[in-house]
Chain length 337, copies 2
């Protein structure tokens, strides 16, 4: 029992050739009933399990997917991850994860997995092609790729994610439906996501015939600190909004903290909305009204897309947009005129 059993052990025990063993296991239809039974008996007896390395070498497939994410610890990513994992595992694939921390050298480093055939496909949560895969012509041949969460700017890569502009538009329309007209958008930024979310905001305002006060659109990183800072900058002004629509929940959280610290009562004095529905959105005081990203579904859908691409099927559409759902909690109130 020192060495694990090989296909030859099974073959000789079953009294057949190794080719037959292989077929009995992989294409049971192509083998006679009686021999198949002999083979599986021999497999059971030897405890044989096929050596994946040898198989992968021969078939030039690894049944592994490499996932590159800037920070796997980020709750937003980690939940997408479980969707990815579930879908992959359901189809017999394993996932290999790379935490890049947006470090170009780490991104490059991870490409070894694909250039050395250890991964058949690539899922990008980073918002850009890995450094080193970008401009070059043949250096590393592109495997099938799908971008998740954040679309890739230049490259023409299939994308799966939430419909950011529709989502934020829905959010803004909810605020408008509550009588708000002076709605600030906190989160203007350079990233694709920030731009799309701002676009959704503008679309809703325009659709309702509301003028956007330019001073109500603030640059703001999508972090708690960012939201805090934006509020501080806003309060040096004379005109104030009645509602804050934030680029994401983290920023909204900062806004709530900052407004509470200034002694305001929420949602009586101001309404606040976020986007994402991160786990603690429901634990803040007041509980945050927000748009829920279907993170698990996003993960599953992107993995499914990638795996069908791997099967050689061109995806019907190069973009899958999932709807964000409005989650009503208690950070938004009717506007008191």
């Amino acid at each position: 029992m020192a060495k694990p059993a090989t296909i030859e052990d099974v073959a000789s025990l079953a009294g057949v050739s190794i080719a037959t063993v292989s077929r009995a296991l992989n294409e049971p239809g192509k083998v006679a009933d009686t021999t198949r039974r002999k083979v599986i008996a021999a497999v059971a007896q030897t405890g044989y399990t096929t050596n994946a390395m040898a198989r992968n070498l021969r078939t030039r497939k690894s049944n592994m997917i490499l996932i590159l994410a800037p920070d796997v610890g980020d709750p937003n990513f980690s939940n997408i991850l479980v969707g990815l994992e579930t879908a992959a595992s359901k189809r017999g694939y394993g996932i290999l994860i790379g935490n890049t921390q947006n470090d170009p050298s780490r991104e490059t480093d991870y490409l070894r997995f694909i250039s050395s055939n250890q991964a058949d496909g690539l899922i990008l949560l980073t918002g850009h092609l890995p450094f080193g895969l970008a401009a070059q012509k043949p250096a590393v041949r592109l495997p099938p790729i799908v971008a998740v969460n954040e679309p890739l700017p230049d490259a023409d890569i299939p994308f799966v994610g939430v419909d950011n502009v529709e989502g934020v538009r829905t959010a803004a329309e909810h605020l408008i439906s509550q009588g708000h007209t002076r709605i600030a958008f906190l989160g203007r930024g350079a990233s694709a996501i920030a731009r799309m979310r701002e676009a959704g905001y503008r679309k809703a305002m325009e659709g309702a015939g509301l003028r956007i006060d330019p001073s109500f659109v603030l640059e703001c990183e999508g972090t708690t600190e960012g939201g805090r800072g934006a509020v501080e900058r806003m309060f040096v002004r004379d005109r104030l909004p009645s509602a804050f629509l934030c680029v994401n929940d983290a920023a909204a959280l900062g806004v709530i903290i900052s407004l509470s610290a200034r002694g305001y009562q929420l949602p009586r004095d101001f309404s606040v909305m976020g986007f994402d529905d991160i786990s603690y959105a429901s634990f803040v005081t007041p509980p945050l009204t927000t748009m829920k990203q279907p993170r698990h579904d996003i993960g599953a859908a992107s993995m499914d897309l990638l795996l069908t691409m791997l099967e050689g099927i061109e995806p019907r559409s190069r973009q899958v947009l999932l709807r964000a759902d409005l989650i009503l909690r208690n950070s938004v109130a009717m506007h008191r005129r």
Copy 2:
């Protein structure tokens, strides 16, 4: 450029044998300077990159570590994950993750990675040996394993995690130092972690010569719901504690929500402590005083331990306990007598 270059292409271009190429790449010392230069030039020209499958087949090593966790989306796990990933990647290993959801069949399924040589070692965040690895004698040969976060009950497997009893003891001592004597422990449970944390609580109480009111030790799942429920059960009693020490932050959160809903002012009326320092501990009102788990370090330490075991070195100690740090926020106040 259709096929990727193989070692033979490099060899013939450099005018040497494939053995020399292999040596030039893997044991540069064993090859003459001039030939080594020829080889690396040829590598550069062909864009050669060694086929990992072939190498793994030959060397019987995959340079992969399988990580089994019940829920990768759990913020506690996902942060350990980045520590694991960082340490692995630093030493040239890749990580393969399996989300088991505590489903025995999924646990068994993931063993294929180790039985098929696709992973050299195993990290368990599950608190138990994977189903199917447990009782059997030879079925799957045990790879090097380290348990993280939660020790394995029966098996003698190296463990890395936070020192739960010392940690909770520190927490309890903090409450005692604030003048509290009637301290409830919410979180009695069957899991190893729950037991250790309860032990820390008892140790501190005993050390301070305080009697533990048995009705102050409550069963309670480590979830927000669990914490809520425990408070409700407690409030049918006539005697109430002045401080709640919770098995983890999630439960503490439930306690805070429940107490606030009953109209109490925190920390004036009751003090509350948690354990873990999950990300939103600082965002609750009042911000939660708790013990911080060094999650990143835990991940890194366990991966380091596993990798040294893989190198054939027996670990100096089969248990690494990291200290939890007291994080002072605002959910604990001096006891008003």
